[in-house]
């Protein structure tokens, strides 16, 4: 992916105007960290920023890692601009801005935020499948908490994008870039050209709308909510401008669980499920061993099923229900047992 310069014939006047502007960029140096999940468009967003800076006459360097990160892993990009940039990589507490397309990825890289910096973080949550490993306890290995650290501006990108959000894959990033553009300076036209030169041609219009909506949303947010905020920001303190969906809504994406979901899970039993095998009835057909999702069961040396890894049982009752000889019962420490071959 290359950031292209805009060199269309017939735009010499525009170029001249750009160059004039370029001599007086609103901001002369800065550092950004962009983070998200593989496939979200982090690299495209950082390309847009880099191109906007380059077109404004600034030196730019940008670094990112691809490869395995594309497979649903973390993707992070560092962008540095100024009159002369050496390292492409930032140190912690050096970034004036953070752009996060996923909430937890924003938290992960928040250590890079400079005191006084702003982190524009999408409230979209993508909980990785590995976070669901605790099938017994139901604990989610993911930062679901609703606390909003200082410096973070939570943005429900799809709500802010409005009708432009129909083209989801390349929209969330331009909403955040719109908000960023309010603080970062550079001419509006430069931003728009950078977007037009970077996103797929058929998505240009929608992205420009999303950019504009992001920009408008953040300007209003600053006037209303931002000015009211004290040093400690809590999610509930953030008031959204009228007519705009609440930026902190955690249900913005299709994968958005409510923040309280994990906290309200009831303690469903005292201990692990109990697996009872009626040895006389088992003929060692092996069906339960094959179907057990957690591989709890195995056959012993007499070809009779035993619970070799009972701590992994989630009490789904599948083995009990599929046992042709009704030789298995699963008990949990609640009034009713979950499954039995006798039912």
């Amino acid at each position: 992916m290359t950031v292209k310069t805009i060199d269309q014939p017939g735009t010499l006047v525009e170029q001249a105007r750009d160059l004039k502007e370029a001599n007086e960029p609103a901001i002369s140096q800065g550092n950004l960290v962009l983070a998200g999940v593989g496939g979200q468009g982090i690299i495209m967003a950082s390309n847009i920023i880099s191109l906007a800076c380059l077109e404004s006459g600034l030196d730019v360097k940008k670094s990112e890692v691809h490869g395995m990160s594309q497979r649903g892993g973390t993707v992070v990009s560092h962008v540095r601009f100024g009159h002369e940039v050496h390292s492409v990589m930032l140190e912690p507490k050096q970034a004036e801005w953070i752009i996060a397309l996923e909430w937890e990825e924003g938290l992960r890289f928040l250590e890079y935020l400079k005191p006084g910096g702003v982190a524009f973080m999408s409230t979209e949550r993508r909980i990785p499948p590995t976070a669901f490993a605790d099938r017994l306890g139901g604990k989610i290995d993911y930062a679901l908490g609703a606390g909003v650290p200082r410096g973070v501006v939570p943005v429900d990108t799809y709500a802010v994008a409005g009708e432009a959000a129909a083209e989801r894959p390349v929209i969330a990033q331009t909403v955040l870039l719109g908000a960023l553009s309010v603080d970062m300076g550079l001419s509006q036209e430069t931003w728009r050209e950078a977007i037009a030169a970077t996103v797929p041609p058929k998505a240009v219009q929608a992205n420009l709308i999303a950019f504009e909506n992001g920009r408008t949303w953040y300007e209003r947010w600053k006037k209303t909510t931002g000015s009211k905020l004290g040093s400690s920001v809590k999610a509930n303190d953030i008031q959204q401008p009228e007519g705009v969906s609440p930026g902190v809504s955690l249900g913005g994406s299709s994968n958005g669980p409510s923040a309280s979901a994990s906290a309200s899970v009831k303690d469903w039993r005292g201990g692990a499920p109990r697996i009872e095998v009626i040895r006389d009835w088992c003929k060692g057909c092996n069906i339960c061993v094959i179907v057990c999702p957690e591989r709890v069961l195995s056959l012993d040396r007499f070809d009779i099923v035993v619970a070799s890894k009972p701590d992994r049982c989630t009490a789904c009752g599948l083995c009990a229900r599929l046992c042709p000889d009704m030789a298995i019962e699963i008990w949990v420490d609640t009034p009713a047992h979950v499954g039995t071959g006798g039912e």
Binding site: G38, M68, V88, A143, P257, G317
Partner: protein
């Protein structure tokens, strides 16, 4: 302005249209002596950048290398995909018109190196691209290549991966250059990547040896500005017989070794004068010897320190380095991975500090360089305390941020074979590719991963050892990996009558590196139709008696095929054939959903590790019910096939045939819905 058209990255239309003339005639404002060494000094100050802003663009290091190879008049670009080196060839194929450069994804790196040497002897300039471990595969030819020498220049581009972002080790290939006695260039940004590549071809011809151009991930995948130089014409030349130089019989090789050593001593003198090495004298109290991306970190962290910046790291300019050492009070080496430069300085008898402050593993960062200089007493400790809250005030602590590992994509055709292997409790030797992720939770169905093609050879060893506790031995590798290095060990397995099963996961592409075509595909890197290598036919020709080809989206058939193969004595092969869901095209069928009333929370489907299968957090029940994230579901039908409750349905009206609540293996697949 003509040059601008030829240097517009990605603007393939204008490049294709103009490349034959404008892109190559070199009539351009940035006059540089073509083919002679160019020191990478970007025009200073803001004004010149603005002046050139419509000619200059941001390039990744890899793109700059690809562009430079084209501008250097290279006739051929060959390599094997491997992060972070892959995009050089892809970029060349993207920006150049077809007749201009022959581009080839070779079967493996050794093949690429040999193709390059052949073309070089025919007078052509060639770039070879590999990742660091890829160069190991090419070593056999690489080691003897300086004996044979070149006719057209050969640049071997090698991308190291400190930090192992996408690699199985982090070997430091600077030692390979020293081992082979091949000149080594190390750029520190995209402009140098461009310049050094241009220069590399000339150096190769000047010294009659291939030249290694080494980057690291932070050079290859970082973007910075590049001002291109005028392009050169293709080199004219043809193959002429010279058996004493080209045929490495012992009698010929002996004098060539002597000539090689004589050249080395000449190159050492030349290294003192090359413009890619430079002494930057500032404060005399601290001097730093460094190269590559570490140079940039040093400039950021210690802007006042004197620096000896090496662009040529083999052979090293010993006299210049000794002289630099004498000018500073305290001398440091800042380098990633091995103490390559540090050892060389110690051999010169120069007191130097380095690896006691900077780690010998992983990649450096400005932060690590700062910490190192703090430990050395050069910088004041920053006084930060551990356990600070993020963002300055109380919020979610970093401890609560869970890990996010790479995963097999939704709809990945590799999931089913691993799902089956997990149930069969086989000893699984894995290989290099996306499917290495079969080792991770929840599939957890891979026991080894060593190097390209090693799955089959290791399986032979395990099977012959015969001490796997009665568990069957299964080797798993992809189509491209099989062709790369899996065939010789399969020959070994058949010839030695090893009792094992090989599963070849044929998804029709080299997926891990972004979907490059391989010899089992009917297209090449430029999209042309090419003859396709038939993997099952290769297995048959080798003498594999039990061979099955199966669709991995058909869970039952896959299970039966693998079970059957394992039950066979001798070598059995199962080829699973199903296109990658992401490349070259994103494949999406009807989205599936979970019937909340039908799901009993057994979570068997979640053992597939599909990113689209998540917990339904709207339901306050235990165990958790499963929900399918519609934005991620590819419609592959596999979860619907294995659901024991038959509770997963296509969002369109027709339901899946997963009605039999029983062993998932008995359920038929529903491939027809695949678009």
């Amino acid at each position: 302005m003509k040059m601008a058209a030829g240097t517009q990255p990605g603007n393939s239309l204008s490049v294709s249209a103009d490349a034959g003339n404008n892109g190559r005639d070199g009539d351009d404002g940035h006059k540089r002596p073509g083919g002679t060494p160019v020191v990478a000094v970007a025009p200073a100050g803001n004004g010149s950048i603005a002046h050139s802003s419509h000619k200059t663009a941001l390039f990744s290091g890899n793109e700059a290398i690809g562009l430079a190879a084209w501008h250097a008049g290279a006739d051929m670009a060959v390599g094997y995909p491997g992060t972070p080196s892959t995009d050089v060839l892809e970029y060349i194929a993207e920006i150049t018109p077809e007749p201009d450069i022959y581009v080839e994804w070779s079967t493996n790196e050794k093949v690429a190196m040999d193709v390059a040497m052949g073309a070089s002897l025919a007078g052509k300039r060639v770039i070879v691209t590999t990742k660091h471990v890829g160069l190991n595969v090419a070593m056999d030819s690489l080691m003897t290549s300086p004996f044979i020498g070149v006719n057209g220049g050969v640049v071997v581009f090698n991308a190291d991966d400190p930090g192992m972002h996408s690699s199985q080790n982090e070997q430091d290939n600077r030692y390979i250059a020293r081992f082979a006695g091949i000149p080594l260039l190390e750029p520190s940004d995209s402009q140098e990547a461009y310049d050094f590549t241009r220069v590399g071809f000339g150096l190769s011809e000047q010294w009659d040896t291939p030249v290694i151009l080494r980057t690291t991930t932070r050079i290859s995948h970082a973007l910075s500005k590049v001002i291109p130089a005028p392009a050169e014409q293709h080199r004219s030349g043809e193959f002429r017989r010279d058996p004493r130089k080209y045929v490495m019989l012992p009698a010929n090789a002996r004098p060539r070794h002597v000539a090689h050593l004589e050249r080395l001593s000449k190159m050492e003198k030349w290294a003192e004068e090359v413009p890619f090495n430079r002494e930057e004298l500032r404060s005399r109290s601290i001097g730093v010897v460094t190269s590559g991306v570490s140079y940039q970190y040093v400039r950021d962290v210690l802007p006042d320190a004197s620096v000896f910046k090496l662009g040529l790291t083999f052979p090293l300019p010993r006299e210049s380095l000794t002289s630099f050492a004498s000018k500073v009070d305290r001398l440091f080496v800042v380098e990633e991975l091995e103490p390559y430069l540090e050892e060389a300085l110690r051999l010169l008898g120069v007191p130097v500090e380095g690896k006691e402050f900077f780690p010998r593993y992983g990649e450096l960062s400005p932060h690590l360089v700062r910490v190192g200089f703090q430990a050395a007493g050069i910088l004041e400790p920053s006084g930060e305390t551990a356990g600070e809250t993020i963002g300055g005030v109380a919020g979610p602590s970093l401890d609560s941020v869970g890990p996010r590992f790479p995963l097999l994509c939704s709809g990945c055709s590799h999931a089913t074979p691993f799902f089956v292997l997990r149930e069969l409790d086989a000893v699984v030797t894995g290989d290099i590719g996306c499917y290495t992720l079969g080792a991770t939770d929840p599939l957890s169905a891979m026991d080894t991963c060593l190097s390209m093609g090693s799955s089959v050879g290791m399986a032979v060893g395990l099977a012959k050892a015969g001490s796997t506790g009665g568990r069957p031995v299964v080797a798993v590798l992809g189509d491209s990996t099989f062709l790369h290095a899996g065939i010789p060990p399969l020959i070994d397995a058949v010839h030695r009558e090893a009792n094992l099963t090989v599963i070849i996961l044929d998804n029709g592409t080299t997926a891990m590196t972004g979907g490059q075509p391989n010899p089992a595909n009917a297209v090449d890197i430029r999209g042309r139709s090419v003859p396709k290598v038939d993997i099952p036919a290769i297995c048959k020709a080798i003498g594999v008696a039990s061979l099955a080809v199966v669709d991995p989206y058909d869970v039952g058939a896959t299970r039966r095929a693998i079970e059957n193969a394992i039950s066979k004595e001798g070598v059995s092969v199962v080829v699973t054939v199903r296109a990658c869901a992401e490349s070259p095209e994103k494949i999406r069928g009807p989205v599936y959903y979970v019937d909340v009333d039908g799901c009993d929370g057994c979570q068997l489907c979640m053992n597939l590790g599909c990113p689209a299968l998540v917990w339904d957090l709207s339901l306050d029940v235990m165990p958790k019910r499963v929900r399918i994230d519609a934005s991620l579901c590819s419609g592959c039908t596999v979860c619907a096939q294995i659901c024991p409750q038959g509770a997963i349905f296509a969002s369109s009206s027709q339901s899946v045939t997963a009605s039999t609540a029983g062993a998932g293996a008995s359920v038929s697949s529903n491939q027809g819905e695949r678009q």
